[in-house]
Structure formats: C-alpha cells, structure tokens
C-alpha cells in the first residue's frame, strides 16, 4: 500500500538529522562521540538515499546504502583502533588534548 507521505518530509527529516550530526562533530571533544556523530550524518544521508529510491522506484539508492554501511563498518574498525592507540599513548580520547602536531 503506497503511503500518502510526501518525499519532502523524509528530506526535511534527514536534513535535521544530518545537522544534528554536524553539531555533534563541532561541539564535542570526545573522539568516540565525534565518531558517533559522524555515523549520524552517514545515516541521515542513507535515509535520503532510501527515500529517493522508494519514490523513484530505482534500486540504486538502496545499493548505495549498502556500500555506505560497508564503508561505515570499515571506518568503525579503523577509527576505534586509532582511538585505542591514542588512548594507549596519551591516556586521553579528547581531541583538543591531542595537539602535538599543532603549531
């Protein structure tokens, strides 16, 4: 049964979610929470992809969601490994305390 929800609603929702993610990345210091905010942004884009795919009847959008998920999984593995290495070397996960390379 097709819904009566216009596509615009999904797009507005994903814009709001994306911006929530952006704000998280900008305001937080904890590397893990920044990582989670990045995931929020990726998922907002995924939502756009899936809604376009459903409203246009084109499967390409859902395919892209898969590839984004795979990339997100890879990013999670590497990113968290970096956070672990960082914590081991500097005993911190706060990005503003990692300033050795800062001029």
């Amino acid at each position: 049964m097709p819904t009566t929800i216009p596509l615009d609603w999904y797009l507005m929702l994903s814009a709001v979610l994306f911006v929530t993610g952006v704000i998280g990345v900008i305001t937080r210091r904890n590397a893990i929470i920044i990582f989670m905010s990045l995931e929020l942004m990726l998922n907002a884009v995924n939502l756009t992809m899936v809604s376009f795919s459903a409203y246009n009847g084109n499967i390409g959008g859902q395919m892209f969601v898969f590839f984004i998920m795979a990339v997100a999984a890879a990013e999670a593995a590497v990113g968290l490994a970096i956070v672990l290495a960082l914590f081991r070397n500097k005993q911190t996960v706060y990005v503003d305390e990692v300033n050795l390379m800062k001029w």
Binding site: T3, A15, L17, V19, R29, L40, S53, Y55, A77, V93
Partner: protein, 169 residues
C-alpha cells in the same frame, strides 16, 4: 489518521529525539545507547519506505556490530568519568552550531517553497526492497563495487589489527 503517517511521525520524532540525545549526553555510554535507539528508529523509517532488507541490515550492521564495538571500546577505556567530560563552549562551536542549524533551516525553507511534488511512493517500491531484488542487483550490476568493498573491508581488518596491536615489531 492514516496508519503510515502515524508510524512516520512516531519514528521521525523518535529519530530526532535520540539523535539529539546522542550529541548532548555527557556519558559516552548514554550517547551510544541513544544512537542504538536512533538506529532502531531509522530501521522503522526504512520499513515505512518498504525497504525491508535495508531495515534488517541496518539493525544487524549498525546496532548489532558497529555500536557493540563502540560500547566495547568505551567500557574497555572506562570513560565513565563525568567530571572530565565538562565541555567548554567556545566561539568556534557556537558559530559552527549556528551555521549548521542555518543549513537545516535553508533545506526546510527550500523544500517548503518548492515541493518536489512526489506525494506517493513509486509502485515499484514494494518489489525493489525485497531480498531477492537486492541480491540480484548486487551480484549483477553492482558486482564490481561489491568486490571493491570486500577488498576495502579486508584492508580495514588488517589495518585495525595492526593499529590496535600493542607492540609492532
């Protein structure tokens, strides 16, 4: 009220609320659990879009694998200390927040002024979200990206093992 609209409203409000909780909680575990709730809400939204396979994979991959990893790392590092998480508000973050919010407002205003005109889902939407059609497309049209992604995952696997190892000789 239509059932679909009701479900959309429920999941949309839930998604926004859990997203806001994710970026505002001081405790990383609270953030992570809100994000898990957010993924469940998104999965519900995908179901309202008839993308059943994506909805299942969303929970399986994000909530079941990625976030478990995050929670695992948070617990391993024992980051629960509340007082060390006091965040300073600076000009940079205030400006950033404002500009980001402006972007959302802009998108919403544009969409309100010029609606896309797509008021109902395509009739094919019911069939393209199933496991069969996804599998068929994934292993025919998108075979090359699929293989490329498998290589990427392998590289990430090796990279993360080396990064997380204590002594690399």
């Amino acid at each position: 009220m239509d059932m679909h609209v009701l479900l959309f409203a429920l999941f949309a409000v839930g998604a926004v609320a859990s997203a806001v909780l994710t970026v505002t909680r001081r405790n990383p575990v609270a953030s992570a659990m809100s994000l898990v709730a957010h993924f469940f809400m998104l999965s519900g939204l995908y179901l309202t879009l008839e993308a059943q396979f994506v909805a299942a994979v969303q929970v399986l991959v994000y909530a079941g694998a990625i976030m478990v990893l995050v929670v695992f790392v948070v617990m391993l590092l024992n980051l629960g200390n509340e007082h060390r998480l006091q965040e300073r508000s600076s000009l940079r973050s205030v400006m950033g927040t404002l500009i980001a919010a402006l972007f959302a407002v802009q998108v919403i205003i544009t969409l309100l002024a010029h609606p896309t005109g797509m008021n109902a889902m395509s009739p094919q939407a019911l069939t393209i979200g199933t496991t069969e059609s996804i599998g068929q497309t994934l292993f025919t049209t998108y075979l090359f990206p699929f293989e490329a992604v498998s290589l990427l995952l392998l590289a990430a696997l090796i990279g993360s093992v080396i990064l997380a190892k204590r002594h690399v000789k």
